[in-house]
């Protein structure tokens, strides 16, 4: 079973939910489809949705909510 990486296309602050009062887009262990949003990156006060980009199972997040990320950093892994 191989693992695939989902990388942040942008530097910024990573958010797992669209606001603090709602559940995260994806919980650890969820399956994802390529078009699914897995989080938001805040870049200079604007928010960009991050799509999974790949289909997979059992997503594992490697970055916590509200943590800074660099462009190209792996934010999550999925199993194929």
């Amino acid at each position: 079973m191989s693992k695939l990486e989902i990388r942040s296309p942008l530097p910024g602050t990573f958010y797992r939910a669209s606001s603090p009062d709602v559940p995260p887009f994806k919980a650890d262990g969820d399956a994802v489809a390529s078009g699914d949003t897995i989080g938001l990156i805040e870049v200079m006060k604007t928010f960009q949705e991050i799509p999974a980009g790949i289909d997979g199972k059992a997503i594992t997040f490697l970055v916590d909510n509200e943590e800074p990320v660099m462009a190209g950093q792996v934010i999550a892994e999925v199993e194929q």
Partner: protein
């Protein structure tokens, strides 16, 4: 007490501006910074720097305990809050004073009073400053809102009492919309600001944003004339001028006098700005709000009056009497400021941080560039996109526009996209030249004139 040392509780270009002002006054300077800002220009310029926490603003620049601890540890006399972050937080001002230090700004009580939009409207009315027709204060319920509309007519704005900076505003055009939106607006305000209080104002459809710079030492109060800031995108100012050149002289006199009356009403100390909407057809102005801090666009006022506003606010908060009297303050020439943001105007103003590989700054008479940039600096993604402000002065507005165009052509920032192309287009636009604009001019202009100009350029290339 004379201030001998100051801590700057901010970042970016305004931190640089405050450090330079404090140094010019012979003060020792301490710059706080987040872990992401260790390389910023203000840190390099300051005598001392203190890391106060992780990149996220609420863990560093908005962390009152961390800022106060840094001030105590470095033994400074005073704290300058800049703009944004904690600058209009009354509790922060109190915390600075309770630590035995001077807060460079008005008292915590004055900040809270003027920061509550409903209370500020009442203060303005008491000082004889005209306010936009609307509710006299907080609206108890929908019925109260309906009574106000009978008086003002539509459209009206529903605003959150605890909102500000363009947030928490809804526009409604009919009774049906009002009935629908009022409860939603109240619930949203409660969620966003912890206060569901609402008030209402008539929408002035074609208005200019005009604001008056005030200075006070607690006993003496002056104005430094007005600025025109109507060119806005998403309620954020893009381009500012001083003076508001089409304002009739008698209106200017009344407008500026009303701002001084308001400053006197609250015994204002420091630099502040009273913001107004100006209805050009009716020649009426209406109070919007007071900003109890230095503003981004303060340099245009400095350029036409010769007053260093940042030095002046530091001096009066240290206990000095205002160094200028009203009769000494004169307008000379015209100034324009362009906000240079790390945004791509050709791609919907998408912001982009990154490494600045080249920086060329124009020089010459009447040209000033207030910036956080240097070659080799990496603009971090965690804060706003303002890189710097190009400010140009000349004897007349036409000469100022011509000089601005040359200065913009000489300003080179490579490595990140910037809004320089937008400002070049504005500097040569006929509407802008005639002063034929209002607060809702820029967004449609970007969709039409600016978009078309971009297409033509692409065809030629």
């Amino acid at each position: 007490m004379t201030i001998r040392s100051v801590l700057v509780a901010n970042r970016g270009e305004i931190a640089v501006r405050v450090i330079r002002a404090a140094k010019a006054l012979g003060m020792r300077t301490v710059q706080v910074h987040s872990a992401a800002d260790a390389d910023m220009l203000a840190v390099k310029l300051a005598d001392e720097a203190v890391n106060i926490g992780p990149p996220a603003p609420k863990k560093s620049y908005l962390n009152i305990e961390a800022v106060i601890a840094a001030a105590k540890a470095t033994g400074v006399d005073a704290v300058h809050p800049g703009y944004g972050f904690l600058s209009e937080n009354g509790d922060f001002a109190d915390a600075v004073v309770n630590a035995g230090l001077i807060f460079i700004g008005p008292s915590g009580d004055a900040i809270r009073l003027l920061g509550d939009k409903v209370a500020a409207r009442k203060v303005a009315a008491k000082a004889g400053v005209p306010t936009v027709p609307g509710s006299d204060g907080r609206l108890d319920d929908l019925d109260a809102a309906k009574k106000v509309v009978e008086k003002t007519g539509f459209p009206v704005m529903i605003k959150a009492a605890a909102g500000g900076g363009g947030r928490g505003i809804r526009i409604v055009n009919s009774i049906a919309e009002l009935e629908n939106q009022f409860p939603q607006a109240s619930a949203e305000a409660a969620a966003a600001f912890g206060d569901g209080g609402l008030y209402m104002e008539k929408v002035i459809t074609k208005a200019r944003h005009v604001e008056v710079q005030i200075l006070g030492d607690g006993e003496n109060f002056v104005h430094c004339f007005e600025r025109e800031c109507s060119l806005q995108r998403r309620r954020q100012k893009v381009w500012e001028e001083a003076p508001s050149f089409l304002l009739p002289a008698d209106v200017r006199e009344k407008l500026c006098a009303s701002a001084v009356a308001l400053a006197r009403e609250v015994k204002y100390r420091g630099a502040g700005t009273v913001e107004y909407l100006y209805d050009e057809d009716a020649q009426e102005f209406y109070f919007i709000e007071v900003n109890t801090r230095i503003q981004v666009e303060h340099p245009v006022t400095e350029m036409i009056t010769g007053i260093d506003l940042v030095q002046e606010m530091i001096k009066v908060c240290g206990g000095a009497t205002l160094s200028v009297k009203q009769d000494d303050i004169k307008v000379h020439g015209h100034a324009i400021e362009c906000r240079i943001n790390a945004e791509d105007p050709a791609k919907g103003f998408m912001p982009a941080p990154g490494l600045v590989t080249t920086l060329k700054v124009p020089e010459g008479e009447g040209i000033r560039f207030d910036t956080m940039l240097y070659e080799g600096y990496t603009v971090p993604p965690f804060y706003d996109s303002l890189l710097g402000k190009l400010i140009v002065w000349a004897e007349t507005r036409d000469a100022c526009l011509a000089r601005l165009k040359t200065a913009l052509e000489g300003l080179v920032v490579e490595g990140v996209p910037t809004t320089i192309p937008l400002h070049l287009a504005l500097a040569t636009d006929d509407h802008v030249r005639r002063g034929d604009f209002h607060t809702r001019f820029l967004e449609p202009w970007l969709e039409s004139d600016f978009a078309t100009a971009g297409d033509k350029k692409a065809e030629v290339a």
